[in-house]
Amino acid sequence: MINFVLRLGLIGAVLGVWEWLVAFMQVPTYILPPPTSIFRGLVNGFSSNLYPEHIMVTLSETLLGFVFGTVLAFFLGTIVALSKRVEYFLYPFIVMFQAMPKVALAPLIVVWFGLGLTSKVINAALVAFFPLMVNTIVGLKSADEDRINLMRSLAASKWQIFWMLRLPNALPFIFAGLEIAMIFALIGAIVAEFVGAEKGLGMLIQSMNINMDVAGQFSILLILSMLGLLLNGTVTFIRRRVLFWDPATQADGKLNSDKGGV
């Protein structure tokens, strides 16, 4: 409790020093705005109904991209993990794509799929795809040899070994992948909006940048980190529910927010 008050106090102090420094050193607003004008930008944005509309656009792009990307990643990852043949033939592609920074594809994707929703969803899906596919493969392959032998000794079918052993065993990996994929999907959507879009928070940042509305940009950044926290928190919440049996899940509650930094 004491710590919590101290924490709030520190945040308040940082904002206060910021406000005072900007005024004292007469920093122009288009370089670094004081917290009060950022707050004003936030209020104006919401009262004029400008922000909610763009938030909804970016949020739908992110969520759609997340769903498409991760569902595809899960199925492809499963096939690769279960079939040595498929793995052998797909491996060169996987390695090549994994090494490539996926956001660099954004300009191409906007050219191919236009300025609307589609290109953003595809870009978000593409960026969200790899962390989950890699984790699915690793997770499904990590089943303990003794446990597999136990299942085999019971004359379990391959299908039963998958459902009763490999899949639950892979869940901690899959959820770790989902947490990263969620944040990546948001990044993918924003980057695609930077490249070319009619709506969305990324597009808003760019147009504000051109108009030198730095306070507005800061207010959007604030919204984006809130959005990131909310999306990541949702996945973490579900993970805690599903993986109540996983000791690591119980232990790393405080650590996993670090992944947002990726």
């Binding site: 003794d146 000794s153 869940l171 996983d246």
Partner: protein, 279 residues
């Protein structure tokens, strides 16, 4: 004392008559891991048989092929040559009438105690209600009542191992294969587990093949103790243990028990293993 010792029994005739009577019949069984110059001969022309309802312990130094033998019997590993049969049927692969207990409990952390015990029943699609009743009985048998809905991480090592053992019993297999099931336990827990296992065996009259590093444990539990020798894995001496049942822990302090243990240890030392390192 001499009458209790069966002596060498390295080779059984491959007579089908013996094979069809025996719960386990192993004939000229060999197993090599790998091929070419790097191949390791884990088992070299071994043979012995186990009667129905018999409790046989296998002792031998580390690396002599005990686990390999168990994997072959469990149908997890096809032999390189020779044959192994259960109740007269050649082992083709895993069978549903076998229960296997591994060195570690091998529990699934996402299943409760009851869920873990019921795993074989789930895999084999046995009647749920009947199996649940049976599982609760087994949980009670090993003193885990009250822990049915606990998860493995909430149990001690000894409790987890008990779950591993009753899981091997849930589908009422005729044959129980146990690979150093108590190796990871402390001496006290281990002794009480030995008593418990003997009780379970006396009640259920299953055929048991029990692998262990401990000579005393082998003598305490078994009707017969098979000594294996290393590099390559072969069958050495076989000892008939003639001690009345049920055996209380105090039997370990008797002279007769001590003589069995000594004889087996001597056999282990003679076979060039690290017998001195065994307890």
């Amino acid at each position: 004392m001499g009458d209790a010792v069966l002596g060498r029994q390295t080779d059984l005739p491959a007579s089908t008559e013996i094979a069809s009577q025996a719960a386990i019949a192993i004939n000229h069984l060999s197993l090599r891991y790998g091929t070419g110059p790097k191949a390791v001969t884990a088992l070299d022309d071994i043979g012995f048989s186990v009667r129905e309802g018999e409790f046989v312990s296998v002792v031998g130094p580390s690396g002599c092929g005990k686990s390999t033998l168990l994997k072959i019997l469990a149908g997890l590993l096809p032999p390189t040559s020779g044959s192994a049969s259960l109740n007269g049927t050649d082992i083709q692969g895993p069978r549903r009438d076998i229960g296997v207990v591994f060195q570690s409990p091998v529990l699934f952390p996402w299943r409760t105690v009851l869920g873990n015990v019921l795993l074989p029943a789930d895999v084999q699609g046995l009647d749920k209600a009947a199996m649940r009743t049976r599982a609760l009985d087994l949980v009670n048998l090993v003193g885990l009542t009250g822990f049915e809905d606990s998860y493995p991480r909430q149990l001690s090592g000894g409790m987890q191992q008990r779950v591993g053992i009753i899981r091997a019993l849930i589908h009422d297999p005729a044959l129980l294969l146990m690979d150093e099931p108590f190796g990871a336990l402390d001496a006290m827990t281990r002794e009480s587990m030995n008593v418990e296992l003997q009780r379970i065996w006396l009640e259920s009259k299953k055929t048991v093949l029990f692998i262990t590093h401990s000579t005393a444990e082998a003598v305490f539990l078994a009707d017969r103790v098979v000594v294996m020798t290393p590099r390559p894995g072969r069958i050495g001496d076989v000892f008939e243990v003639d001690l009345p049942r049920p055996r209380p822990l105090e039997v370990m302090n008797t002279e007769k028990f001590g003589t069995y243990v000594q004889r087996i240890r001597r056999a282990l030392n003679a076979t060039g293993g690290h017998g001195g390192g065994l307890d």
